[in-house]
């Protein structure tokens, strides 16, 4: 009877999934020795600071060394480095969740800090701009076109769109991005080829915003194009399937306008599976953002992820970014699951 129960069940199960992923992540890190290395680098970082502090008071190098050794032992036992990785598991888990992963090797936040959490969190909004905008655009266009097609099944446009859907599934987002750069940035010079702002960026807020819009256009078009095709297809197929149900015939028999039958009956019933289609598309969009940010040099988490592999890989950054991506995904999933439950009274029990 209560709507809360299914909501709770779905949210809880996703939270469980989240923790299981996290747990597996930490186990992988521990078992392969990555967490050892990460912690050791934190210890070394701390020691360097301590050494410069101590060097002012202790002049004797031997004494300094022995004090340092003591400090090292203290620190290692503080970080539990003297214990096996599986003993440290809970600690590591908390460390990952709180993004307490020390400092980045060779990356800095725009404001100069080397703390991994700062670097990652600084990029988060940039990624969100791309993701949410393209997600919304896809949803709106997909719904409109998919619904339109469902009322014209078998038409020329319908066939064109079904091929478009297949191509859109077959095209790697990043490659499409490259093509768009070649075409619109290099050949026709309509849009900038990458980055978030021109250099130097405009100072006033309105031109600055416009500059951002210009830079965001190509990446967003890319993300929309690759996820739109399959989504239109899902909307269309779902709507056509629903349109064949008996209750639609009942609605028509009532002498209601076709438009009303479509919106109040067909689309209303098709909406839960359409939300499921969005959930499926979410994985693609999130993965796509990593690649798209790379292609368009967009200063988001995806670009950052690419950079951490490009040079000397930075374990701390990789863990942090994987974690934040997973978190984003799970949060988005929970929102969509809640929508699903609200839309479909049948799942309430």
């Amino acid at each position: 009877m209560s709507i809360l129960q299914p909501l709770l069940v779905r949210t809880l199960s996703l939270v469980v999934v989240f923790f299981v992923i996290l747990f597996l992540l930490v186990i992988t890190l521990g078992a392969t020795g990555f967490s050892d290395r990460t912690l050791r680098s934190i210890v070394n970082e701390d020691l360097r600071g301590i050494r410069t502090g101590l060097a002012q008071t202790i002049r004797d190098p031997d004494q300094l060394e022995s004090v340092m050794r003591e400090r090292r032992q203290d620190l290692e036992s503080f970080y539990d480095l003297d214990k096996a990785w599986y003993v440290r598991l809970p600690g590591s888990l908390i460390r990952v969740i709180t993004l307490d992963l020390g400092e980045a090797r060779n990356m800095r936040a725009f404001e100069g800090s080397k703390k991994i959490s700062r670097i990652v969190l600084e990029r988060l909004p940039n990624t969100m701009i791309l993701l949410t905008t393209s997600f919304l655009v896809t949803t709106v266009i997909g719904l409109a076109v998919g619904t339109y097609l469902s009322t014209h099944p078998g038409s020329r446009l319908d066939r064109i769109i079904s091929y478009f859907a297949a191509i859109s599934f077959a095209i790697p987002a990043w490659w499409l991005g490259i093509i768009l750069i070649l075409l619109f940035a290099i050949q026709f010079r309509i849009f900038p080829s990458g980055g978030m702002y021109s250099s130097p960026p405009p100072v006033d807020s309105l031109p600055r915003f416009w500059d951002l819009v210009l830079h965001a256009t190509l990446p967003i078009i890319t993300l929309v194009l690759v996820s739109l095709g399959p989504y239109i297809y899902v909307v269309r197929t779902m709507t056509i399937n629903i349109a064949q149900e008996d209750f639609v015939r009942t609605a028509r028999a009532k002498g209601l306008r076709e438009r009303h039958v479509l919106t109040a009956h067909i689309l209303r019933v098709a909406s839960p599976p359409i939300v499921t289609g969005l959930i499926l598309g979410l994985t693609g969009t999130l993965g796509g953002s990593i690649l798209i940010e790379t292609v368009f040099d967009w200063q988001g988490m995806g670009r950052l992820y690419f950079e951490t592999f490009a040079g000397t890989p930075d374990e701390g950054m990789i863990v942090a970014l994987t974690f934040v991506f997973t978190l984003m995904y799970i949060v988005a999933r929970i929102i969509l699951e809640i929508m699903y439950v609200l839309l479909d009274p049948r799942v309430r029990y």
Partner: protein, 328 residues
């Protein structure tokens, strides 16, 4: 002769591709003389009786290739109306229906009350009401069909089969139509619930003067409510008459066999079956469509379509055996 409430003449409905044209409704004529009467259309599955009810509601599929004949309601010809006029003025407001397959006939994500009141709120025309009036009218029709008012806020999956069927009936009554078409309204229900619904229909018929077109495969069930019965076979009406005439004095061989195939409780004689199976509507036998299954078929039956023979007032049957001088 005064004008009938509904008079259907030579109705045809064919659909499908030209190569395998399905002749679902073939030269069908029916009439309901006045309100408070019930006409039964009885026939086996695949005889086109569901297509007939859809044809009366002008609920046409894209694949329809022929839709012709005359449907007059109180003397007014409906076939010449535009689709929009028909939808606004006739469908559901003057002729409504309870569709077949009650289990899926309700929208699963809308509350029953909202589905019942929908035509009052969203259908253009004189019956358009305020939300408040719609709720009041919804409660009224729910009471008419024996449901309590709190059912209005339930979703279909929270209702039993009988409740859904009553809900659909309430929905069909919302605009106070003159005629209501019931397409196999009880076939998915248990006997006791079926009997409840039949009693309800009788009450609606007598108390509110509702005219009913009752489409069913079950002659016994039809006898429960129908004043007139038309027997459908292969898209045609092969015999029509009052309930007494059809049930007590059937003329067409098909009607006769249909009646003896009904298992009954009272008679100790076991029912008999009709050999063979009904024909495919896209590949009908020549002449009389029943001749391949008819024991008394004459040579002419396979060659020519039989004439309609009057066997009494209002009692008509289409069969060569009834012709005065059967040819051949």
């Amino acid at each position: 002769m005064s004008t009938s409430l509904l008079e259907v003449n030579n109705l045809e409905l064919h659909y499908g591709p030209e190569s395998s044209r399905v002749r679902a409704v073939n030269d069908v004529s029916l009439s309901i003389h006045e309100s408070g009467r019930a006409l039964g259309i009885v026939g086996e599955s695949g005889c086109g009786k569901s297509s007939l009810s859809l044809a009366l509601m002008r609920m046409l599929d894209n694949a329809v290739i022929q839709y012709s004949g005359s449907i007059k309601m109180e003397g007014e010809e409906l076939m010449t109306m535009s689709d929009d006029e028909f939808r606004q003025q006739i469908r559901w407001s003057r002729i409504s229906m309870v569709p077949q397959g009650s289990m899926n006939a309700l929208n699963p994500v809308l509350r029953l009350g909202d589905q019942i009141s929908e035509p009052l709120l969203y259908k253009e025309g004189p019956h358009k009401t305020t939300k408040k009036e719609a709720v009041a009218r919804t409660n009224e029709v729910l009471n008419m069909v024996g449901l309590s008012e709190d059912i209005a806020s339930r979703y279909p999956h929270e209702l039993s089969g009988g409740m859904k069927q009553r809900g659909l009936l309430a929905m069909a009554l919302i605009l106070k139509p003159q005629i209501i078409i019931l397409d196999e309204p009880t076939s998915a229900l248990d006997v006791s619930v079926q009997a409840q619904i039949m009693n309800l229909l009788k009450k609606l018929k007598t108390d509110f003067g509702l005219a009913i077109i009752f489409v069913t495969h079950d002659v016994a069930l039809a006898s429960d409510i129908c004043d007139e019965i038309s027997v459908a076979y292969a898209g045609k009406i092969v015999e029509t008459g009052t309930a007494e005439q059809i049930l007590r004095d059937p003329q067409h061989p098909y009607t006769k066999r249909l009646l003896v195939s009904v298992p009954t409780i009272k008679s100790p004689i076991p029912p008999d079956f009709i050999p063979g199976s009904p024909p495919n509507l896209s590949d009908l036998p020549s002449g009389c469509h029943f001749h391949p299954r008819c024991e008394n078929a004459l040579p002419i039956c396979s060659k020519q379509i039989p004439p309609v023979i009057a066997k009494g007032t209002k009692h008509l049957a289409q069969c060569w055996l009834l012709a005065d001088k059967p040819l051949g």
